[in-house]
């Protein structure tokens, strides 16, 4: 497995950020097919404009999937217990996103120690697109 097991997790530790390539229309077309979300507002500019949006924009689940990659490159996926986000702002075509995260608490969940992480997806202007948290079991 690529991601190391974390036997010692410290509050305040920052996760290695994940920088993503710019969002393209191709990204959105592929994600529509792969995710099953065929809402035309993400893939058809005419539809998006008729709905009052300036253009197509990313499915919220696309940056959330990036956060999933970000978390599972840090710990094996089997250690992930909970993962939640609020979609704070629309991600337009061309956006350059980065996933960031930090351990904010060590807590107890059932019979295991859990690290609580604050996680974000931000663009290159620093605008928060997704804000969320994750609970990760300590190996």
């Amino acid at each position: 497995m690529n991601s190391p097991r974390r036997d010692e997790i410290r509050v305040g530790e920052e996760l290695p950020p994940l920088e993503l390539p710019p969002i393209t229309r191709t990204t959105l077309a592929l994600f529509a097919g792969a995710s099953g979300d065929h809402n035309p507002i993400h893939i058809d500019s005419d539809f998006a404009r008729a709905a009052g949006m300036p253009d197509v924009f990313a499915h919220g689940m696309l940056p959330m999937a990036y956060l999933g990659r970000f978390l599972t490159q840090w710990v094996p996926q089997t250690q992930l217990r909970h993962f939640s986000v609020r979609f704070a702002a629309i991600t337009p075509v061309g956006a350059r996103l980065t996933c960031t995260g930090k351990i904010v608490e060590i807590t107890q969940g059932g019979c295991e120690a859990l690290a609580r992480l604050k996680i974000n997806v931000v663009d290159d202007q620093g605008e928060i697109k997704l804000a969320g948290e994750a609970l990760v079991a300590q190996a």
Partner: protein, 152 residues
């Protein structure tokens, strides 16, 4: 305004098999290149039964089956007005390619803010394995943007 009588509405249960090809397509679409998410042997070497299902993948089950479309039609919400507001997953057991899962979803809340200009639909899903054990729980908050002239 969305009729709150729909709170508690059970959506049709969706049963499906997690397909390897679809997982590889999802990996491509999300820029995932690690071998354990693409190659079965690598997945087994990493301790999985088969290709692991990425943390957000199971959203697709309801979408494939048209459950979201059914929900929006039942509630009278045009698709162009919706945005995804919040999403959460709670994981109880690993899920891999070849697993046969069922998704049971219901509308657990409907509420509005800003005098009806924005409405919220909360959908809770239980994803169960073939033995009926809950492997993943998911909650979606869908935001409905209503035209200003209709706002109270």
């Amino acid at each position: 305004m969305i009729n709150t009588k729909h709170i508690g509405l059970q959506l049709p249960t969706v049963t499906f098999e997690v397909e390897k090809g679809r997982l590889r397509f999802f990996a491509k679409a999300t820029g995932e290149t690690r071998p354990e998410y693409l190659d079965e042997q690598a997945a087994r070497a990493a301790g999985y039964r088969s290709l692991p299902v990425p943390p957000t993948f199971l959203m697709g089950a309801d979408l494939d089956a048209g459950t979201l479309t059914t929900l929006l039609d039942t509630l009278g919400v045009p698709i162009e007005r919706i945005l995804h507001g919040e999403q959460s997953f709670t994981y109880h057991a690993p899920v891999c390619a070849g697993d046969v899962l069922s998704v049971e979803s219901k509308v657990s809340d409907i509420y509005s803010k800003k005098g009806g200009a924005i409405e919220f639909i909360v959908k809770d899903s239980q994803i169960k394995d073939a033995q009926g054990e809950t492997v993943v729980e998911a909650r979606s908050v869908i935001v409905v943007r209503n035209p200003q002239e209709n706002a109270a």
